[in-house]
Structures are given as C-alpha cells and as structure tokens.
C-alpha cells in the first residue's frame, strides 16, 4: 500500500487568482473528479511567476510543475499573462536544454468558467508526469 502511494506523482500548481484558481474552485464546487496530486499555490497573476518558482518546486522534489493563468486577452491586469507566456515559453525550452524533461514543466490557460478544463488539465498533467516516472533530478547522485 505504501509503495502504491509513493508512486503517485506530486504536482505543484501555480494558479492565477482571477482565472485558474477560480476554475479549480468551480471544478470542486461542481464535484468534478480529478486526480488529487496537485498542490495549489495561489498567485495574484500568472505574470507573478518567476522561473525560480518552477526550479524551486522541482528541487524540492515535486514531480511536475503546472503554471496556469487567464486566457490571452483576459488578464485582470491586462498584460500579465502575455508576459507569463513569453517567460514560460523560454523557461520550458531552456530547461529542456538543461536536461529536464518537457513533461515536468507545463502551462495552461484555464478561465474561471472552465471547471471541466481544469479537471482535464490536471488529469493530463498527472498522466504525462506518471509516464516519465519520479523526479530524481535533484537527488544527491542526480539521474
């Protein structure tokens, strides 16, 4: 049994307070089922997310990191998610170059009305991360 739970990947999700966090709330209140692997961190805007958060998550041993914000054009602060998009795109590519599998760093747009999409995104991310196995990147002997 204990082995079973150990295999479950742990995901840290940075969700923007205006869209994705509300989307996650909606998924909950409408009783959507999605894997309980995600630890949510509420951020004021996806533009608040520093690539440092992502690496910190991975170095703490999370198996995957999800960054989620408002759809382009819907940012509460007008342009926060456009900036986040640039930053995420660059970070994803660069971390791949370092040797971190692309599946570990994911991004999505989920609006406050997309409870279904949120459940789906989490299911997909968990599936992806499960497929590549646990994160041993920052273990003493590396991977």
């Amino acid at each position: 049994m204990e082995n079973e739970t150990e295999k479950e990947p742990r995901i840290v999700g940075f969700l923007c307070k205006w869209c994705s966090y509300a989307g996650a709330d909606l998924a909950g209140t409408s009783r959507k089922k999605y894997p309980a692997n995600v630890t949510v961190v509420k951020v004021p805007c996806s533009g608040r997310i520093d690539p440092l958060f992502i690496l910190k998550g991975l170095s703490l041993g999370f198996d995957g990191v999800l960054v989620s914000g408002c759809h382009p054009g819907d940012c509460h602060y007008q342009t926060g998610n456009y900036r986040a998009r640039r930053r995420m795109a660059l970070t994803k590519k660069f971390l791949e170059y370092m040797g971190i599998p692309a599946e570990r760093v994911q991004a999505s747009w989920v609006s406050a009305s997309e409870g279904n999409k949120f459940a789906q995104v989490i299911a997909d991310v968990v599936k992806d991360v499960k497929a590549i196995g646990p994160n041993n990147l920052f273990c003493a002997e590396g991977r």
Binding site: L55, R87, L90, G99, I100, A107, S108
Partner: protein, 316 residues
C-alpha cells in the same frame, strides 16, 4: 587610435560635458587591463586600447550619478543600450566613446598555442582575421580563430551600435559561431539524463563566488534572489543543486539583456563553461522572438514586450 581616444576623453572632461570617464588602463600583469574610472585629466594619458580590454565597462554605469563618458566596444555598447531600455541608465547621462573591436585575445589559448607563458610573449596585435605575436624578437602570425575568445569569434557587432563619437573605422564582424555552436550542438545531441549529468558535473565545481554575477552588466538587481532569506530560495552552501539553480535562473533573468559578451565565462575561477548557457539563451531568443539584445534603445525590453500570438503549442 589611443591618441584620438585620449583627445576625446580630455575634451569631454575639459568642456565639462562629463564629470567622469570610464575606460581601460594597463593592468598589473602583462597583457591585462584594469578599468580606469577617473575625473582627473592627468590620468587620461593612462587610457589604452588593446586586444586585452576584457571588462564590459557598462557594469560601472549602474547606479552612477552624474554624467559619464564611457569607452565601449561592440558588446559594451549593447549592454549600455540594454541598460537604457531597462531604465537603469539615461541616454542623456552617458557619452559613449565607441571603439570598434577586432576581438579580444584569450591568453589561455595563446599560451597553449605558443607554448610560452605570458611574460615570454613580447607583443600581440590583432589585425582582421590574423593575430600577430612577437616571440624572441620574431613575428609570428596565427589565424584569429585559434587565439581569440569564442564569443569574439561569434560576435556579430564588433562596432558599437550606439555611440556619440567613434574612434577609428568600423570593423567587419568575424561572425564565426562555429566553435560556440559546435559545443552547444554536442550537448543537444546528448540524451536528457546525460545532459543533466553533464551540468551536474560542471556545477559541482562552482564555489559560488558570484564573480559571474558581479561582472555582468545585465545583473543589476540591488538584491539578488541568491541572497534572499525570506523566502530562502537557494542555500549559500555551494552544492551542485543550488549552484545549478542559481546559474539557470540567472541566465533566464538576464534573458534579453545578455549581449553574449562572455565575461561570466572569462571570470569564472573554476572554468565552468557558462557561455554554453548564455549563448544558447541568446540563440533561443533570436529564434523564438526574433530579438537581439541591446540593438534599439527605444524598443521595450524583451521580457516586458509581447505579440498577440506567440509561443504556440507550448501552452495547453
């Protein structure tokens, strides 16, 4: 050229256009230079132009008050423009004395090529794609690519892009990225876990002296995340995990400001190939956003700009 440089610097100080000149002076060792920051006209005669003026002087403009005259090579001028874009320096507060640069000599390469140490070499001059070295009274020529720094070989803009006066004539770019791109291509060929192992090995040597950060004109934060204690992002103890996080994040943080001047790699006492990171970032930005740092002082900084549609397919 030095004469012209000194004349210009003297004039700027005399007219009172600037209250300080930042340039290069002969260093304490042969074939080294040291930054010269002075408002004293008598010191102007120490200004030199040499293939060893390694320092990216743009670094000394950060948090400077008053009007400054600065000697700038191609890469320095791009760093200055980046600082202007990021509103760290006002264009009106600097007088850029542009110096076209035909590449900087990597002493380590030269020493291993000639088999002589620094003090046995008499003179070094760079002309076009040849570097002539004087040894035992005899002149010997080497192809530039054997002697210059990798980043100088890959330099696209050796002539300053932004200047108030230019000393000498513009020089043509060598633009030979082969050496740099080969090293990067070799890394890309590795499997992800081998790549990670490679970086682990490199960063286990890091002693976290922060020389890379201190020398970098793109690293102008007053407080660095590396020293934040609330939250405590990375441990100050040099372990490879934290060293790697530090350098990767530093590379991402300076994205769009880094002009690939290669100073971080040059000053690294542990010879960690940091340009494998910065050059890859530089190329990535060019490929994804068609942006080159420090080319247009009126352009918004890379990371604050956006297009309506970009980075397609990376986000769910």
């Amino acid at each position: 050229m030095e004469k012209e440089l000194r004349k210009q610097a003297n004039r700027l100080l005399e007219e009172g256009t600037v209250d300080c000149i930042i340039g290069h002076a002969q260093g304490s060792l042969k074939f080294t230079t040291t930054p010269l920051i002075t408002g004293d006209k008598t010191e102007i005669s120490n200004l030199i132009i040499s293939p060893f003026m390694h320092n990216n002087l743009a670094n000394y403009l950060i948090r400077r008050h008053g009007k400054t005259g600065i000697v700038a090579k191609g890469c320095d001028s791009r760093s200055i423009v980046s600082l202007i874009q990021d509103k760290q320096v006002s264009r009106d507060a600097v007088v850029i004395i542009g110096v076209p640069c035909s590449g900087l000599v990597d002493m380590a390469k030269l020493e291993s090529l000639t088999g002589k140490v620094r003090d046995q070499i008499e003179a070094v001059t760079v002309a076009g794609d040849k570097v002539s070295v004087k040894l035992n009274g005899k002149k010997k020529e080497y192809p530039a690519r054997q002697v210059l720094f990798d980043h100088c070989l890959g330099c696209e803009f050796p002539t300053p892009q932004e200047y108030d006066c230019l000393i000498g004539e513009p020089v043509a770019a060598i633009n030979d990225t082969e050496l740099s791109s080969k090293k990067i291509a070799d890394i890309k060929k590795m499997a992800p876990q081998d790549r990670w192992a490679f970086w682990q090995k490199q960063f286990s040597r890091c002693i976290r002296c922060y020389a890379c950060r201190e020398v970098c004109p793109a690293c102008f934060c007053e407080r660095c995340f590396a020293e934040e204690s609330q939250p405590h992002w990375i441990s100050p103890v040099p372990q490879w995990q934290d060293n790697l996080v530090f350098q990767v994040i530093r590379t991402i943080h300076v994205a769009g400001r880094c002009s690939d001047c290669g100073e971080c790699e040059r000053v690294c006492p542990q010879h960690i190939p940091l340009r494998l990171l910065s050059r890859e970032m530089y190329d990535l930005i060019d490929e994804m956003f068609h942006y080159k740092s420090g080319m247009d002082k009126n352009a918004p900084p890379l990371m604050t700009a956006y297009e309506m549609v970009e980075a397609e397919g990376l986000i769910r």
